[in-house]
């Protein structure tokens, strides 16, 4: 073994010395051989000549010694590589097109796979993420809820203390807090966590210590905070003396006890937490909403997680948790908070609620992006397939052109295996080059994709990294090798089968009949895949167009919006109320502003305040049927552009004690059918106390979309904001005279002067906000368009190549036809017939493929059928025109063949 290694070493690095030694050794041999011959009586010259002849040539012996040397394969590989690089460099146009094709296929695939991997496939960056589950209660909760994955604090405690299946449980609540109290004040996402959060996740700190169970034992007792690593770097410049210092969160002094380990940004993808605070500090972090101290069971707000004991599956755990939950539900159903507003039927329904365990990595962004990302991965897969077909085609064309070269090499003694290997090495070189280019492309593409997908401020600190990781790299390598095998092997095997005598005789018309049908097939595949991608692009672009045309029903131009929350600065209700009233007056006088509308809930952000209502002849309703409610300031309707169809809008004078509401037409139809709505009364169902219908309807407005632009307007009721008792965040809408972007900077400055401590959040135009809400659709539409366009381009190149080759091969035949009197138009028709057969076959295959796959994209479409005939026909027309043109050029050339030249040609 060692001697082999030494020999290998010598062969590679001391090659000259070895060659000299070998030469000397052979010279000595020749010497001895000729002196033997001299002894036999030959003259010295003759002896030497004979000896050389016997030996069979020094060079040949040297070569055969080299062939058996250790590392000879390396030698040959280097030779193949050198030769490969040289041949590729000799044909830069081919190399460029081939590598660009590959880079495109590999780059697009890597980019999409990186994104899919990080957003959808990967688990949380904690120890044994597969053991983590979200503990969710399904069914109607008969209370207020912060979302489907939440349970009440007492429920969490009951489950935590009594279950048999988890090694531990923790819970969290995402909140927004204001950090700092000076010009650098900002709203940041915070994670309120139970004391078991860090130990059970198995997440540590890079500085200081994590939040421990002791920190989370008594409400309001431990004002401590752990910073996320990335936030510590960006906001505190990685200051290592930060531990032990005090920072202001919502105006409360909090002691920094640690910096979390790098890469950990909480458990919710797309909403990276910047600070972690014990959940017992809830009152300080979310003023005016508690849920902790008075232990309400009808308010679900914490997301509970459990770590499964080793050996227990999620299904087993789910089963074992049902009796525990049932016991808790039985107890809850006895409580006045529950019995007050429910019937026996409700109780029966409530007792059927179950525990459901979701994977710990489950979240909305994942859910939302899963389908579009898989779809895009599928599209890029088609692009890669197409790129391979194109390359196979290019390489086949090249192999045909190089038949003479191969024949020559075979004739002078190259083995067929050697030629196959040579072609494979060339393919691998191309694939390698393409992969490197593709990786660079993927890196850029992921950055651009993230920028499209996330608002500017989030993109900067989004946890998704654009650096391809090892798994993605492995994926690329697999794709590359597979690609090079697919497109390298066919031509390689074909190339080595070249018949020497035929090729050398240069009767080019007589050979390669096999290759042309293979190339026709590849072009057919390309046309089919292009049609598939074009149809996809058409469907997605029209979906986006449909959604954009839809609009919310009110004018969105010249509308600017932002939100603020002075209560996070520790302002009391009275201070916040006065803040808003002064701000309203202040903004109304701002130059360029026509009117100002305040609303407690944001428009078109996908969520809403919903509550059951009761009246004389209606009461309660499940969540989906509850009306959408909102508290607004005066001038809201005129600012947004919602017409008042009956009664009146709110004025600044609509402040208690009487309760007023304005409803929309749907609300009126649903709850007061056949009656004039003005003057009717209704009440909001409250879990804590019985209510009477004491809210009087004073106006009716037109139906407009509220949560998102896809919805049909829900039943809605509005209440005057300043009539309430609590004042929290506010969404402010400004109708401007000109382009709202022109006054954005001025507005920021005005807000800073108004109150430098209260940060302005999410300042953007309404059109930007709507545009952002359609980002998934835009991403899919723009990428599928790019892919479709490139696919068509590749198919067109492929078709042109094949037809040009066909024409070249038939030059003689066409020359004869023209010589005997065929019209040039007939020649064009003859070639074009072949072109259209090719396109037609491809289209047919593409159509069947597209029809078969149509249902898979149904959920991604809006306002059109996945088998939309217009899109199908349009794509076919575009493709036929482009490919027809590509085929027409060779046909035209064929018609211009000069018979005399053509016949002399061979």
């Amino acid at each position: 073994m060692i001697s082999r290694l030494r020999a290998l070493w010598n062969n590679i690095f001391r090659r000259q010395l070895l060659d000299r030694d070998l030469n000397e050794e052979l010279q000595a041999y020749l010497d001895l051989a000729s002196s033997e011959k001299i002894r036999e009586g030959l003259s010295p010259e003759e002896a030497y000549r004979n000896a050389r002849r016997d030996m069979g040539g020094v060079e040949q012996v040297v070569q055969s010694v080299r062939d058996v040397s250790a590392g000879a394969w390396l030698d040959r590989l280097v030779q193949d590589l050198r030769y490969g690089v040289r041949t590729l460099a000799k044909n830069p146009a081919f190399t460029l097109v081939a590598m660009a094709t590959l880079a495109l296929g590999i780059g697009a695939n890597t980019a999409m796979f990186s994104l899919l991997d990080q957003v959808v496939l990967r688990l949380l960056p904690v120890s044994h993420p597969e053991q983590l589950v979200i503990v969710r209660e399904t069914g109607n909760h008969y209370g207020n809820s912060y979302g489907p994955n939440t349970i009440s604090w007492p429920m969490f405690e009951d489950l935590r203390d009594n279950n048999q299946v988890f090694t531990g449980m923790f819970c969290r609540f995402p909140a927004t807090v204001t950090i700092g109290d000076d010009d650098r004040a900002a709203q940041i996402p915070a994670e309120l966590v139970s004391g078991s959060y860090f130990p059970i996740l198995g997440v540590g700190t890079s500085l200081g210590r994590p939040i421990a169970p002791d920190d989370d034992a008594v409400p309001d007792s431990k004002p401590v905070v752990v910073l996320s690593n990335s936030f510590w770097r960006s906001y505190f410049n990685g200051d290592r003396t930060i531990v032990g210092r005090t920072i202001a969160l919502n105006g409360y002094a909090m002691t920094v006890i640690g910096v979390a380990q790098p890469g950990f940004d909480g458990v919710e993808l797309g909403n990276p937490a910047k600070v972690f605070v014990p959940i017992m500090m809830k009152t300080e972090m979310t003023p005016h909403s508690d849920g902790l101290k008075n232990r309400p069971r009808r308010l679900s707000w914490v997301t509970a997680y459990g770590r499964l004991k080793p050996g227990i599956s999620a299904q087993q755990a789910e089963l074992s948790l049902q009796p525990l939950l049932h016991g808790i539900l039985e107890m809850e159903a006895q409580q006045p908070e529950f019995t007050r507003n429910t019937t026996e039927a409700d109780r029966q329904l409530f007792l059927r609620n179950r525990i459901k365990l979701l994977p710990g990595s489950d979240n909305k962004l994942r859910e939302d992006m899963r389908r579009p990302l898989w779809l895009l991965v599928a599209l890029t897969g088609a692009v890669l397939l197409l790129a391979c077909a194109n390359l196979g085609n290019l390489l086949l064309a090249r192999a045909t052109a190089r038949e003479r070269e191969f024949a020559l090499r075979l004739a002078i003694g190259a083995g067929r295996a050697r030629i196959v290997r040579q072609l494979l090495v060339e393919s691998l070189l191309l694939a390698g080059g393409g992969a490197i280019l593709g990786l660079a492309l993927a890196f850029l593409a992921d950055r651009i994709l993230l920028r499209i997908y996330l608002p500017a401020d989030a993109a900067a600190e989004f946890v998704v990294s654009t650096i391809p990781d090892v798994r993605v790299l492995a994926f690329v390598v697999c794709v590359t090798v597979l690609t090079s095998l697919v497109f390298g092997l066919l031509p390689a095997v074909r190339g080595s089968r070249t018949e020497i005598s035929l090729s050398l005789k240069e009767r080019s018309g007589a050979l390669s009949t096999g290759s042309i049908s293979l190339r026709r097939m590849l072009v057919g595949i390309q046309v089919a895949l292009s049609l598939l991608l074009l149809v996809g692009a058409g469907l997605f672009v029209r979906t986006l167009r449909n959604l954009q045309d839809l609009g919310p029903g009110f004018p969105t131009d010249h509308l600017l919006t932002f939100s603020i929350n002075p209560s996070l600065n520790g302002y009391s209700d009275q201070e916040t109320k006065s803040f808003y009233q002064r701000l309203n007056l202040n903004l109304q006088t701002m130059p360029g502003v026509e009117s100002v509308g305040f609303s407690a809930m944001p428009l078109l952000k996908g969520y809403a305040w919903q509550n059951a209502v009761l009246g004389k002849d209606f009461e309660g309703a499940p969540m989906e049927e509850q009306p959408v409610l909102c508290e607004i300031g005066p001038d809201y309707f005129s600012t947004i552009g919602i017409p008042v169809v009956a009664g009146r809008a709110f004025t600044a004078k609509d402040e208690g004690p009487a309760k007023y509401a304005i409803i929309n037409e749907s609300f009126a139809r649903k709850y007061f059918p056949g009656r004039p709505p003005i003057g009717q009364r209704f009440g909001l169902v409250d879990e804590l106390e019985p209510v009477s219908p004491d809210i009087e309807v004073i106006g009716v407005v037109a139906d407009r979309k509220y949560r998102d632009i896809r919805e049909t307007p829900p039943a809605q009721a509005y209440f005057p904001y300043f009539q309430g008792a609590h004042f929290r965040f506010m969404n402010i809408y400004l109708r401007t005279q000109a382009d709202p972007r022109l006054i954005e900077n001025e507005l920021r400055e005005r807000m800073r002067q108004f109150d430098p401590h209260v940060p302005v959040v999410g300042l953007q135009t309404m059109n930007e906000q709507i545009g952002f809400s359609l980002r998934t659709e835009r991403l899919v539409a723009s990428l599928s368009t790019v892919f479709g366009g490139l696919a068509t381009l590749l198919a067109v190149i492929g078709l042109y190549g094949v037809m040009a080759y066909v024409v070249m091969r038939r030059t003689r035949e066409i020359g004869i036809r023209i010589a005997v009197g065929a019209l040039r138009s007939r020649v064009i028709a003859m070639i074009m017939r072949e072109v259209f057969v090719l396109i037609g076959a491809g289209l047919l295959a593409g159509f069947s493929l597209a029809l078969a796959l149509a249902n898979l994209v149904r959920s991604q479409l809006f306002g059109l059928n996945p088998r939309d005939p217009l899109t199908f026909i349009g794509s076919a027309v575009v493709l036929t025109l482009a490919a027809g043109l590509a085929g027409f050029l060779p046909a035209l050339r064929a018609s211009r063949v000069d018979p005399t030249t053509a016949l002399r040609h061979e």
């Binding site: 060692i2 001697s3 082999r4 020999a7 030694d21 070998l22 000397e24 050794e25 052979l26 010279q27 000595a28 041999y29 010497d31 001895l32 051989a33 002196s35 016997d54 030996m55 069979g56 040949q60 012996v61 055969s64 010694v65 062939d67 058996v68 040397s69 250790a70």
Partner: protein, 110 residues
């Protein structure tokens, strides 16, 4: 080395070279002469087979080489058996004897 040479033939050549070097160290021509001598002239190993075999066996660790002076006063490379080479000679001889015995028995059987 022609590609048609079978493993059997290669094994034979290796064994002959090992045997030729069993007594003393020899240079290339010496090996060739010695093989001719011990096989009664039946095998005339040409340079084109000899040198690749010598180099291959050296790299396998059966032979070691050193530079010395030939009868014609030229620098020549002398080959000698290593310990591994001697062992190889032993096992190969045994194997060859087994094969030739088997072959002889097979051919005698009618």
């Amino acid at each position: 080395m022609p590609a048609t040479q079978s493993d059997l033939l290669q094994g034979t050549l290796d064994l002959l070279i090992l045997k030729a070097l069993a007594l003393q160290e020899l240079h290339g021509m010496g090996v060739s002469r010695r093989i001719a001598q011990i096989t009664g002239g039946a095998f005339d190993v040409k340079a084109g087979s000899l040198f690749p075999a010598l180099h291959r066996m050296e790299q396998a660790g059966w032979l070691t080489s050193s530079w010395g002076e030939s009868e014609t006063n030229r620098r020549a490379k002398f080959y000698a058996l290593t310990k591994a080479g001697k062992k190889q000679l032993h096992t190969e001889s045994e194997r060859w004897e087994r094969i030739s015995l088997a072959m002889a028995t097979a051919l005698r059987t009618t």
